[in-house]
Symmetry: C4
Subunit: 272 residues, 4 copies
């Protein structure tokens, strides 16, 4: 087996056949989690001043590893996507969702060496490293099922989002007109009223903004009660899609184990 | 094709066959959204003073378009409702839900020219324009499914509303009698207690009003825990209705597809 | 038809055959709602002082009507419960759930004339009148379905209540030990900690009591996240029971319309 | 029957055949509940000083009973686990979940007599006694069903926990970077931002920490709205698992009842 194939096998998450494969997998995963913890701890001022050098070494080490991983993935992209030409496979990986995440998690480090850039922007760009967390559970069947459920219910959920948006806009605009006179500070504009509407409809209720007039309280109560229905709607949609998906998967398993289904006219399998 | 038919096709949302139809559809939709954004931005005092003339032009332009659209819809109503006589079709549109929304979104502009009316009332009337948002997604299948689910569960949901109302009245009246002595300001009357009850049962919990006596806290805890059941009830109702509706639709599709069964490879009917 | 039978028909909610029956039904319903509104408005001090005499007349009038209704129900109880002896039928009504509610809604008025009693106690006893609201929707099919669902899931819901209680006690006791040193006022005893636990697990979160120590915040976060599962559990139980109940009802209708099922040994119908 | 077998029957919760068995069962249950109430009341300073001796007697009495119960359970472990050798059965009980709970609820009392230990640690260790509450409902069928549902959906729920964690980390890190400049106290580090994220995503919303900048409020609104989906996901999973489990159980019952079918009137098998 060629060395390139062997290296590809090491970083390919789909197959962890031998100890080396598993080691690379767990090593990358551990490094992602260490990066998240470091990002977390760096935000504590006293920890940051005390362990600044440690965080710097973790940064350098992670960047080296992630950069190497990124280059290897480009180099071995033709083994990942075997059905297209090598150079197309590389472009396919680079512009794939995971490829972009891989790039975004290393590029903010190199940027200041090439272009002049605000340090605050760098700090925000470094947050893209968090997206690497998405890679941790990529091959879970449960995650695939959940994604399948969301894909199946996409249009229903979009409509729910539309209904929620409508409700938010209507109640915010109404509340602004009701409460503005009594609380010109809190309900200064529809933007603030929208902040109240979200906090009420989702039942978060921080308590920083709420109606004080009688009619405002009645409207707020109605919105809060509608909030219950708003929770019920996506729950019903997702519940039913879940049941659907599980029953569909079971029936598919059943059917494929029963028999093939051939067309009497052309002799081909209809299911394929 | 007569000119009147062509104009009707332009504004008819059910059929967007050619580019002109689609343009009119997207133009009206965009105008609705621009109106909502304008209404939103006008509430910011500094933006309103700066761009007063722009908002005025948007207002005039929208009113002209919406007025023309309204008149066209009346004029072509007999093409929408073909089974009734022309004058009846016009009345049918005028008193339909969408017809009333269309009227309400233009009429507040013309009112001050005919009758003396308070400017504050005009401002509230202008909010009817928000209802035009309801027109944006009128032909979505998901929205139809959700409306079907709500229609199917109407009596169950009404009973839930009744149970919730009962619970609110009972707990508010009890809490008023419990907390009034300890907090004569906060729980001044049953109205205020009802405001507390809604905030607790829906789990919003702004924190502007809550019990401080021992027995009040126990009652509040029980109400909050019942709030969980109150979320569970409509969710269960809607979930089951959703599953029902989907299964019903599938069986209907199944039956109609049983009559003819085409092979995806050769396109012939297998049953023949 | 005897006069007693006619009077029974008037107050029997199961059959509203003629206009007189319907009138009595709506009259009693309206009176219940008027009583609730009066109770509500009386709690507003200024309204109470202004309309004291009106409230007094409503009170007198309601008590007379409800008392007459109660006596008629006792008198005609043997027509309601036909399968037992007349005096037993009367006792059956008096000690039935609805009979007790009917008594409790009139008896607080007469009490002060017979025994010395604190006026505050009378005020609380008058709240029993609210229970009459339960009579408004007694014959709704949806309410029967919901009650059926709760009956079916009783043991599952009791276990949920047990799990919730366990979680509340565990987290309250833990939080008391964690936060007592930092906030000796707020977390003065486990009772206060329990108040916090309920507000957190039900996601009400008034904001009058919350942890300030690091470990307390972590525990609070875990409890709040478990709160999501706590909502999911009864929702799942009720959803599945709802689906069960609807499918059961449909199958029952189907079966009874198909055929009887006789035992070949004794010839009786098995289903009965 | 040997005395050891008789004693085992007394403490075995699976069989409460005679009055003595039931008495022991209810006595132990009552003692567990009394211990919880005592722990609860002890936290009230005035009650604790007044009834210190009573609490001490309850403590001594409970420790004696629980210790005896623990020793009996070790002694009769070979009757509980009949398929392994006696000494192995004892080890099996000692290291079983319930065995560890039984030990943990008595051992904190004896510890100070053997080793030097902080009194605060003892107080925390005493909380393990609360775990005895878990023994109260051990044999409920509903609890078994719920545990079965959680076991079945374990991997789905773990993925939900993963998604929630991801969302919490992402939103906390983002919010820290957004709000830190405006509120350096409240959003001092990502830990505090995480506290905000949990309170928002679970819709608890204590109101001790919330965004004040425009962009922070928008992010907060998005997180709160996603919180609705986060409730919908586990609810959908648990609902579908519940329906699955109930249908599975019914089919199992159906199959076993298909083998013989008794007439409820004459008691004979219909199939014969």
């Amino acid at each position: 087996m060629k060395i390139r194939q062997q290296i590809y096998n090491l970083i390919d998450e789909n197959q962890n056949n031998n100890k080396a494969d598993a080691f690379v997998h767990y090593f990358i995963s551990a490094l992602i989690i260490i990066n998240v913890i470091a990002l977390f701890l760096e935000s504590y001022e006293n920890i940051n001043t005390k362990y600044k050098t440690l965080f710097w070494y973790i940064e350098i080490f992670s960047i080296i590893i992630f950069s190497i991983e990124y280059l290897i993935r480009i180099w071995t992209a033709d083994l990942e996507y075997k059905d297209v030409k090598p150079y197309k496979a590389r472009l396919k990986y680079i512009f794939s969702f995971m490829g972009i995440i891989d790039l975004l998690s290393v590029v903010p480090f190199y940027l200041p060496y090439f272009i002049k850039i605000d340090l605050r922007v760098i700090r925000v760009l470094r947050l893209f490293r968090l997206l690497r967390l998405l890679k941790l559970n990529r091959h879970s069947n449960s995650l695939k099922l959940i994604l399948q459920v969301f894909k199946r219910t996409k249009s229903d959920i979009l409509i729910t989002v539309f209904i929620v948006s409508l409700l938010l806009i209507l109640s915010a605009t109404l509340m602004y007109n009701i409460e503005n006179a009594a609380q010109p500070e809190a309900f200064a504009n529809i933007g603030e009223a929208l902040w109240w509407a979200v906090a009420t409809l989702t039942t978060v209720g921080y308590g920083d903004i709420y109606p004080i007039t009688g009619i405002g309280k009645i409207l707020s109560g109605v919105i809060a009660l509608l909030g219950i229905g708003i929770v019920a709607l996506p729950t019903g949609i997702i519940s039913s899609a879940y049941i659907e998906e599980i029953q569909y998967n079971r029936e598919k398993t059943k059917k494929s184990s029963e028999e093939q289904c051939l067309c009497p006219h052309c002799g081909k399998d209809i299911k394929k």
